[in-house]
């Protein structure tokens, strides 16, 4: 049995080698993928001029580069308000959150913006109301505030921005709003939706009056469309911001929001000397939009992250300010040196793995096709050069390599580079697809999780592993069957030998007895 198991052990050893090769390739794949990513990031940084955004007042505005490729300067002229979430509490308190009834009928209506949800309480208590609101998915979170005066319901919108927040008890009867109503801005929206914001006429006569509080702004449209009206209102000097919103039916509406929180009135009258049609519906709003002016343009939006106004740069509005804040996008060599250091680290990781599989003491992947090709590619990367500019090789950027091909980054050499050299260095690096960064694509041909050469080799090894496992199983089954048969034969032979020996003794005894009877002597020699 022991001898017969030896081939299985040998096959298992072979399988262990295959599995080890798979593991080594997996580790190499990760390393090559990381190197490809760092080269791609380095290239993207260089093609984007290694831009970094700085704010003159980081307490009011911060900014980040998100794709910009040219130096630029932006001015946030003012921030009237930053976006806040709507949050209200119940006007009345409840003595016991788990037993005091909160609704007179058990039927309630939650209003969040334009969405109204009617529901019937399964448990008519504050706890039941809180849990039911939280299960509605209405974009708000309800909680219970416990004070010395009792328990209050608190409702907070999940996202920032001006919105309507109401909770009505007995909506078909008394219809009582049980929340405090503290409007922080006033928003008006045109009642009638227009099919086309740029061509459908918005006014019957082209003359309108916008009234904010007690101040009226006459508007004579030069472009009788929703877009024209939006532009003229934003240029009117009124403390409101106009924007165009699209309803679920695809029609456009004009939305007006006051720039400063507080109670006021808002009206937009078409043909004020004639039909005097009111175009707006007014809704008290809780929460606030971010209202600000960027490069002289009035803007209002629900959130404080501004990423759709200036291409490739994202502003974060942090606090209101009346002083202009300057955001500057300029080349930042520090980012470049950090990316170069990351590249060097990732390169050396891949390099060390390739070296471990090379030479007389190489590992299980010695001679492997992918390893050899990656080694050649690493040599191309270290040998990459340009024939123009003041930076023509990695050495010019402060990257040196030893006899084994391992790289080192010299920060001092990099810090001594002039602005011209930094600019030439970025040209040398190229982009994510060209120059030094272009090697990223070559590396990805090895590390791609679907089509990469390493993945292909891993699949081949996986197949070999499966074949060996099947072979081992077949061999084991055959050996087991043969061993069982041989064991049975040996047992049968043992039994036969015992029976035969017994029979020989019986026959010997019989012959002795018969001979004694016939001849009076015993001529038989015992078996």
């Amino acid at each position: 049995m022991q001898i017969a198991q030896i081939p299985i052990t040998a096959l298992q050893n072979q399988d262990a080698n295959v599995l080890s090769q798979e593991t080594l390739l997996g580790t190499l794949n990760t390393s090559v993928g990381t190197l490809a990513s760092s080269l791609s990031a380095l290239g993207a940084l260089a093609s984007g001029q290694s831009l970094s955004a700085t704010s003159s007042d980081p307490t009011a505005v911060t900014a980040a580069v998100s794709g910009a490729t040219q130096p630029a300067t932006y001015t946030i002229n003012s921030i009237s308000s930053i976006a806040t979430t709507a949050s209200e509490r119940s006007t009345a308190s409840f003595a016991d959150a788990s037993s005091t009834a909160v609704s007179s009928t058990g039927t309630m209506e939650l209003v969040v913006g334009s969405q109204t949800t009617t529901f019937t309480l399964t448990t008519n208590t504050l706890v039941g109301l809180r849990d039911q609101i939280n299960s509605l998915g209405a974009g708000v979170t309800a909680s219970i505030l416990t004070t010395s005066n009792g328990n209050y319901l608190s409702i907070t919108a999940n996202n920032t921005g001006a919105t309507t927040l109401q909770l009505r008890d007995d909506p078909t009867g008394a219809n009582t709003n049980i929340l405090t109503n503290t409007p922080s801005t006033v928003v008006g929206e045109t009642t009638t939706g227009l099919a086309n914001a740029t061509s459908t006429p918005v006014s019957a006569t082209g003359t309108l009056n916008l009234t904010v509080g007690t101040t009226t702004y006459p508007i004579s449209l030069s472009d009788n469309s929703l877009t024209g009206l939006e532009n003229q209102i934003n240029a009117s000097g009124a403390a409101v911001t106009a924007s165009i919103v699209t309803d679920s039916g695809g029609n456009s509406h004009l939305s007006l929001a006051t720039n400063v929180p507080g109670t006021t009135t808002l009206s937009l009258i078409d043909d004020p000397t004639g039909a005097a049609t009111s175009l707006l519906t007014n809704t008290p709003q809780q929460g606030t939009n971010a209202v600000f002016q960027l490069n002289g343009i009035n803007l209002s939006q629900p959130g404080n992250v501004v990423n759709s106004v200036a291409p490739g740069v994202t502003f974060s509005l942090l606090a209101p300010t009346t002083s202009p804040v300057t955001v500057t996008l300029a080349t930042d060599p520090t980012q470049l040196s950090t990316a170069l250091q990351t590249f060097v680290t990732d390169f050396n990781d891949t390099k060390s793995q390739v070296l471990a599989q090379s030479g007389p003491a190489g590992g299980l992947l010695s001679g492997d096709l992918a390893v050899n090709q990656i080694a050649a590619l690493l040599r191309q990367i270290t040998g990459y050069s340009s024939s123009t500019g003041t930076v023509q090789s990695l050495t010019d950027l402060g990257i040196t390599f030893d006899n084994s091909g391992t790289l080192s980054f010299d920060q001092t050499t990099f810090n001594a580079l002039s602005q011209t050299q930094i600019a030439d260095g970025m040209k040398f690096i190229g982009s994510a697809t060209t120059g030094l960064g272009g090697f990223s694509a070559s590396l990805t041909q090895f590390s791609d999780p679907v089509t990469g050469l390493i993945q292909t080799e891993q699949q081949g090894l996986s197949t070999t592993d499966q074949d060996i496992q099947a072979h081992i199983t077949t061999l084991t089954d055959r050996l087991t069957a043969m061993q069982t048969a041989m064991a049975a034969q040996l047992n049968a032979a043992d039994a036969a030998v015992a029976n035969l020996t017994n029979e020989q003794q019986m026959l010997t005894a019989s012959l002795q007895g018969l001979s004694l009877v016939l001849y009076g002597q015993n001529p038989v020699t015992p078996a």
Binding site: I3, K351, A496, Q504, M506, L507
Partner: protein, 100 residues
Amino acid sequence: MTLQESTGRLLAAIEAEDFTALAKALEARAAAIAQFRASRPSPASIAMGQDSLRAGQTACLLLQALKQRIASESRRLAQIQEGFVESLRHSHQSRVDYRG
């Protein structure tokens, strides 16, 4: 079945390595020995019994040899399997050194 016949079948079964037939032949021989023991002795029957006793001794030797052959084949099978797998294990790729 006579003692001679059963002994003959015993030898034939060992030669054929048929352990089922061997078991049946041993049963028949045991019955024949019992009959022989109860029979009236004669010089011829004594001679026949002595022949069967010698044939039984030969059968014992043949049976021992058969056991050894089975054990030997088991070991040979193991060696064949081991050699086959070893030939797989040594089939590796050529090596190419890398210098950076």
